[in-house]
Symmetry: C2
Subunit: 104 residues, 2 copies
């Protein structure tokens, strides 16, 4: 399994629009069969800082996500809202066991 953590800093006047577009993306992404998790969280200290915690079964599932309409629409919609380019870091899952990640 692959956990992909994406950090995003958005322009302060775009926070609400960014949340709206990203909730739609998160909801649709959770319906992809290769996605176990697509958490969307907002910084407490800095409410213009957001993260996606995306958890995939395989590399193929990562590639499949990038081909979906909801990803492409999200990417185009939020591009002008970003204060700086988003940053993604990949992790391997250590715990819990694989099955537990699919229970959402």
């Amino acid at each position: 399994m692959i956990a992909y953590l994406v950090s995003m800093d958005v322009k302060p006047d775009a926070i609400e629009a960014f949340k709206e577009a990203s909730i739609i993306n998160a909801r649709n992404s959770l319906d992809e069969p290769g996605i176990a998790r697509f958490d969307f969280i907002q910084g407490q200290e800095d409410p213009a800082r957001f993260m996606f915690i995306e958890v995939y079964g395989t590399e193929g599932d990562v590639l499949a996500h990038k081909e979906t309409d909801h990803y492409k629409i999200w990417r185009e919609t939020v591009a002008p809202m970003m204060a700086q380019p988003r940053k993604g870091v990949r992790y391997d899952v250590v715990h819990p066991e694989e099955q537990a990640w699919w229970s959402v």
Copy 2:
């Protein structure tokens, strides 16, 4: 709900011992009634970089975790393994809905 993301950089020769101690902590933490998630992941590019994704119901649950034996034992065990002090950042949960976070 509160998501607490903890970044940890460990000394290269302590990676396996750190994983062992942290898996025990993650497993016991998931048994706490106030903890919805306690994910433990390891960097793909930098295997000495780890993260906990800790998701709590309330601030009281965060405090309760810090009083548990398993947390105190983990903290003492891994202290000499850290390459630098660990960093925690708090987030509010935006999506999915609260109930979904408790299904692990």
